[in-house]
């Protein structure tokens, strides 16, 4: 109906007498088109126009809704094949990441974990122990020898004592106690006013015992060297008895003196 009204104007001017209904005619002139556009702008409520308006309104709603859905771009928008591909991709990546996690955890365990830690602790403990034994700050026990010296009246000289200590050390003694004195690196032998030997400034007394921890047989052999410690003491008139034992105890302790002058040189290498 609107169409007919519209066509009433241009029809005689533009086209032939025959009016093909709803058939496309020759292209309208520019003026015609513009006039029709203006005519379209007029408000002419007819049933057909209203129905068309309802349809375009639905189109507008659908358009906006579709745009909204696309913006959300959820997984439900995808097709099955795309979902499968996506799933594959995600699974592959998850596997790769899991492998990486395993690898890293393994590394972490190796670096931090029980093995390295325990080994380091064990090494540190053993080093501490050997330093303590060397410094004479802990009592020790182990196989070794006990030398009982009864010299009656201090026949032992400074030289004999030094020889004895040196022979024991040569034979691999790991700890030595003479009388009540623990022999350590800083131990020294001196004499008092009457020429008697002093160990770390202390008289040995009589009788006294020398205890050494080490390989008992080697130590006993060292003591028995001709012209050695036992020999020279015996020739000076002392009674020397060497006893090998599976276990001797050295319980004299050395009190470590804090160094006043010596300072460790800072390590330049890696710690």
């Amino acid at each position: 109906m609107a169409d007919r009204e519209e066509d009433a104007g241009p029809a005689p001017a533009s086209a032939s007498s025959r009016r093909p209904r709803l058939r496309r005619r020759a292209a309208p002139t520019q003026a015609e088109a513009r006039r029709r556009l203006r005519a379209f702008g007029r408000f002419r409520p007819t049933t057909g126009q209203l129905v068309a308006a309802v349809l375009t309104a639905m189109l507008g709603v659908a358009l906006v809704a579709q745009v909204r859905v696309t913006e959300q771009a959820g997984l439900e928008q995808l097709r099955e094949t795309e979902l499968v591909a996506l799933l594959d991709d995600v699974t592959n990546r998850a596997n790769a990441l899991r492998e990486e996690v395993d690898q890293l955890e393994e590394d972490r365990t190796r670096l931090l974990g029980a093995e390295g830690d325990a080994a380091a602790a064990e090494a540190a403990r053993q080093r501490l122990q050997s330093y303590q034994i060397l410094a004479g700050t802990v009592p020790v026990e182990g196989p070794g020898i006990t030398v009982l010296v009864d010299d009656g009246g201090s026949v032992v000289t400074q030289t004999m004592l030094l020889d004895g200590i040196q022979e024991l050390r040569d034979a691999g003694a790991e700890a030595i106690q003479i009388g009540t004195v623990r022999v350590v690196a800083s131990s020294y032998v001196s004499t008092d006013d009457e020429g008697r030997a002093l160990l770390d400034g202390q008289p040995l007394g009589s009788p006294y015992t020398i205890t050494a921890v080490g390989d008992a047989h080697t130590l006993a052999g060292a003591m028995a060297i001709p012209g050695g410690f036992s020999d020279s003491l015996r020739s000076a008139g002392a009674a020397v008895t060497v006893v090998e034992a599976d276990s001797v105890v050295i319980d004299a302790l050395h009190e470590p003196i804090e160094a006043r002058y010596a300072q460790p040189v800072p390590s330049t290498g890696t710690p």
């Binding site: 068309a52 579709q66 859905v69």
Partner: protein, 110 residues
Amino acid sequence: MIPVLGLVVGVVLGLVISPEVPTWLQPYLPIAVIAALDAVFGAARASLEGIFNDRVFVISFLSNVVVAALIVFLGNQLGVGAQLSTGVVVVLGLRIFSNVAAIRRHLLGA
């Protein structure tokens, strides 16, 4: 005029109420929208040529939407949904372009 107003009202309405698209409709809505757009541009061209008929518009609008949805449905059933959707979009896009070109020629003579 009234259909244009209807389009504007529809867009505003969609923005305001932001309707939820039902899941069963989601595969068909994009193609249906493009088909409807094709009908709208065809109607604009027809009105410039003086042959606009609202009955034709309503029928072409609805048939476009239904056929587009049907093609998508069929494509999904046959396992070529994506390709067929692309084809439909290409064809409708070509039609929209040719209609817009005609409108442009009518109004601007170029």
